[in-house]
């Protein structure tokens, strides 16, 4: 059963898309408009798809002759962002947890506080203080503080559940968007979507010069900071995978030397996760609240802050790992990581999955012409 608010978000987005479909001046700005022009009347689920295809770059808001205060009050990024947030709730699995998207900033903060407390409380109860605050070195030193088995069991189960929840959400999102209007070969569509994701093509404003979050000027800052955050996250994730491989397949036990692959990947990724979220946070503070609905900033801020502190505590752990502070640092770091894993399917993180699914759909249906041409 859709709530009234969900319905009104869909109505508003439909109203706006209907005007855009009669105008189409923004066709070259991003994927949303070419995708929109394939349809004449928009079902709710098609609207959900378009909402997740929008990158909220704000180009079309500044370019729109009908933007408020015009009577037509066309504000595509606001309409689609409102709806996009509703879709996170609507497709959440299990359904009742979708409500966590309503006060998402609050939820993520509380969840973080909670998981940090749990890890700290458990480690102080279960680990002998002499071990907790001792200097450790060499392989297995982390596990002296928090046992390998506990770490794997907790991380594995929370992450596993998160992946399941995310996949269920994306599955129903994909199915409900309805039949494809046309289909390009799956492989080339997949590559296209990967490319759009890797380059964040549609944060480019259509001319690849980007959009300023403050005004109608151009700037790729948002795109570059997001690249840092996204690639940073992926590198950290890769680092964890390599470490797991070392542990299980090769029997090499953490911590690894500074010049080992997991530490190198983690360090580069970690730098990305410091710079990216900090930059995005800063841009967000200075952004034009008419172009982006501030109502949903809480979700973004919470996720940005979480990524940032995970990376920060990770670095502190790296620096302090041979000192007495290691035990405490490890607990703090893992507390934040646990929070990320716990909240994964009910935080801003879901945008990556829905956006990728939307890009995949777009690339599958892609009309021939959708790239603006720049003057040579």
């Amino acid at each position: 059963m859709e709530s009234l608010q969900q319905q009104s978000a869909v109505f508003e987005a439909q109203r706006v898309m209907n005007i855009c479909n009669a105008c189409r001046y923004c066709e070259g700005s991003c994927a949303v408009f070419p995708a929109m022009s394939l349809v004449r009347a928009f079902s709710d689920h098609e609207m959900h798809y378009l909402a997740n295809l929008c990158h909220n770059c704000t180009a079309c808001y500044h370019n729109c002759q009908y933007a408020p205060p015009h009577a037509f009050a066309v504000n595509v990024p606001v309409a689609l962002t409102e709806l996009r947030t509703e879709t996170y709730e609507a497709y959440a699995w299990p359904g009742f947890l979708g409500a966590l998207f309503r006060r998402n900033g609050l939820f993520v903060s509380l969840a973080t506080a909670l998981s940090l407390s749990i890890v700290l409380a458990l480690s102080s109860m279960l680990v002998d203080p002499s071990v907790m605050f001792a200097e450790h070195s060499g392989p297995g030193s982390f596990y002296a503080v928090i046992s390998h088995g506990v770490m794997v069991a907790v991380a594995g189960s929370t992450f596993g559940f998160s992946l399941l929840a995310l996949s269920m959400g994306v599955r129903s999102f994909w199915r409900k968007a309805g039949p494809l209007t046309r289909a390009r070969p799956m492989f080339s569509a997949f590559c296209g979507a990967l490319k759009d994701m890797a380059t964040l093509e549609y944060l480019g404003g259509g001319h690849r010069e980007g959009c300023s979050p403050r005004d109608e000027g151009r700037s790729n800052q948002r795109r570059y900071f997001h690249q840092a955050a996204m690639w940073g996250f992926l590198l950290c994730f890769a680092s964890t995978c390599v470490a797991a491989f070392y542990d299980y397949a090769l029997g090499w036990v953490a911590p690894y030397p500074f010049l080992s692959l997991p530490v190198l990947l983690g360090t580069i990724g970690g730098i990305g996760l410091l710079v990216g979220p900090a930059g995005l946070f800063w841009l967000k503070l200075r952004s034009d609240r008419l172009a982006m609905p501030a109502r949903h900033y809480g979700m973004d801020y919470a996720f940005l802050a979480l990524l940032f502190v995970i990376s920060l505590t990770g670095f502190l752990l790296l620096v302090l790992r041979e000192t007495v502070a290691m035990g405490l640092m490890l607990a703090v770091h893992l507390g934040f990581v646990l929070a990320l894993f716990l909240t994964l399917p009910y935080s801003k993180f879901v945008h990556a999955f829905y956006r990728f699914a939307a890009l995949l759909r777009f690339n599958t249906e892609k009309p021939e012409q959708s790239r603006p041409v720049t003057v040579a």
């Binding site: 209907n18 005007i19 479909n21 009669a22 105008c23 189409r24 001046y25 923004c26 066709e27 070259g28 700005s29 070419p34 022009s37 004449r40 180009a59 079309c60 500044h62 370019n63 729109c64 002759q65 009908y66 933007a67 408020p68 205060p69 015009h70 009577a71 037509f72 259509g206 001319h207 010069e209 109608e216 000027g217 151009r218 009309p367 012409q369 790239r371 603006p372 041409v373 720049t374 003057v375 040579a376």
Partner: protein
């Protein structure tokens, strides 16, 4: 904006007085999507080639000779460099929009439309030191023997005056001035819809005509198309236009057809329908379609009215049911069978009718039936100030002013005295704007 940028680049101090506030800056240009430019080979987003001669022949064709050949050829010549010049000022282009592919060869489309173009130009201009004052309505120019001294304007309702070495007038036509339109069209004017900005009141145009400036063009000539009758009185822009005419029939209040809906391709005919409707009773007409064709054209802002029978449709439109049904029966009976193809001038016609429908005639027989109410939508008026090839305004005796220049709608009548060729409005504004800016920067004794 073109004039301001050019003049500033030449070292002039430039102030723009804009009647609107920031959100509505840039008048009708806000609503545009492309400009027409000649090019000898594929250039930028433009396909193939479009020679100056072809452009000239197109202009000659639509205006029926109501054009100044010297100025028109000058404009065409200088249109070639426009996309590149605009690109240098931050304007970006995109391929022809879906539904406008017939313009892919001749017209360069602005990425994001006219407001995006304006944002880029304002950005460039302001960064270079041009000052923009919003909410400043120019009321009167102080001119002696063709020489400009100063201008009076209302800033937020407070009267002020500004003196300058020269002035460029780029303040549009007078289509939004209901009183003036009424002087020309009578009561009829009350039913016109102004497609663009409400600020183009022709205040300065009228002032200059009173001060001896030479005019060009017929006051009754304008660009007018069929728009949805439910559109707002002003500033509805592109989304209220209706491209449904060639797919059905169009009747007036009395349920009678009045013009060949399938005379030629729509892009060649859309600009005559505003005037056709303006001549009908109460300036209203109704496009009637059936469910076979209702999805064949670009969607527009308002959904069509629908009904299961022609009689019901007629009564919801307030047309006498028998009259509409009669017209449709007669039309259906005279449709010849052919192979329907909206891409070409096909052989589906209704010939033994007055007026006939020459192409794309399909019987209206598949319910539900649909209707769009149509009104004349005025884009801009053609009565303007006569200028020379330096964009100088001519005064009594055809003598050019040393320091009054004009560009855009306010002088478009020099080039298009009648008819229209999509994308020419912006070309006129940009080419003459640049010329005006160039010369206004260094006013001299000519």
């Amino acid at each position: 904006m073109c004039a301001a940028i050019e003049a500033r680049e030449r070292g002039a101090e430039v102030v723009i007085l804009e009647h609107a506030d920031r959100s509505m800056r840039g008048g009708n240009t806000r609503h545009t999507r492309n400009l027409r430019a000649m090019h000898s080979g594929p250039a930028h987003t433009l396909e193939g080639s479009y020679t100056g001669e072809e452009y000239w022949q197109d202009l000659l064709g639509v205006t029926g000779g109501h054009t100044d050949e010297t100025l028109a050829r000058l404009m065409i010549r200088r249109s070639e460099e426009l996309p590149r010049w605009l690109h240098g000022k931050g304007v970006r282009f995109q391929p022809a929009l879906t539904g406008t592919l017939s313009l892919a060869r001749t017209n360069a489309f602005f990425l994001g439309g006219g407001k995006a173009l304006l944002n880029a130009q304002y950005g460039t201009a302001e960064a270079s030191g041009v000052r923009v004052s919003y909410n400043c309505e120019v009321k009167e120019l102080h001119i002696t023997r063709g020489r400009f001294g100063s201008a009076s304007f209302l800033n937020h309702g407070v009267e002020s005056e500004i003196a300058a070495k020269s002035v460029v007038l780029a303040c549009g036509g007078f289509q939004a001035n209901v009183d003036w339109m009424r002087e020309i069209w009578g009561e009829t004017a009350d039913n016109f819809i102004v497609r663009g900005t409400p600020y183009n009141q022709g205040t300065v145009l009228k002032d200059l005509i009173g001060k001896g400036a030479v005019t060009t063009g017929d006051p009754a000539q304008c660009h007018a198309i069929a728009v949805d009758a439910r559109a707002p009185k002003t500033d509805g822009g592109i989304v209220t236009r209706l491209d449904c005419v060639p797919f059905g029939i169009v009747v007036n209040r009395n349920g009678q057809r009045f013009y060949d809906e399938g005379e030629d391709f729509w892009p060649k005919r859309y600009a005559i329908w505003g005037r056709l409707i303006a001549r009908q009773a109460e300036q209203i007409a109704y496009a009637i379609l059936d469910s076979r064709v209702v999805d064949s054209f670009m969607p527009s802002l308002f959904p069509p009215l629908s009904a299961d029978t022609i009689e019901q449709l007629a009564s919801s439109l307030g047309i006498e049911a028998g009259a509409l049904a009669g017209t449709i029966d007669q039309f259906n009976a005279s449709v010849s069978s052919g192979s329907y193809n909206p891409e070409i001038l096909d052989d589906c016609s209704a010939q033994d009718l007055e007026p006939p429908k020459s192409h794309w005639a399909l019987p209206l027989d598949t319910p539900p039936f649909y209707a769009y109410p149509l009104r004349p939508g005025i884009t801009f008026t053609y009565l303007g100030l006569k200028v020379d090839e330096h964009a100088r305004v001519l005064f009594e005796g055809g003598k050019p002013s040393p320091n009054v220049f004009a560009a855009g709608e306010i002088m478009a009548g020099n080039i298009i005295g009648k008819g229209y060729c999509a994308g020419t409005g912006m070309t006129i504004g940009s080419v003459f704007g640049r010329l005006a800016g160039e010369h206004a920067a260094s006013p001299r004794e000519w």
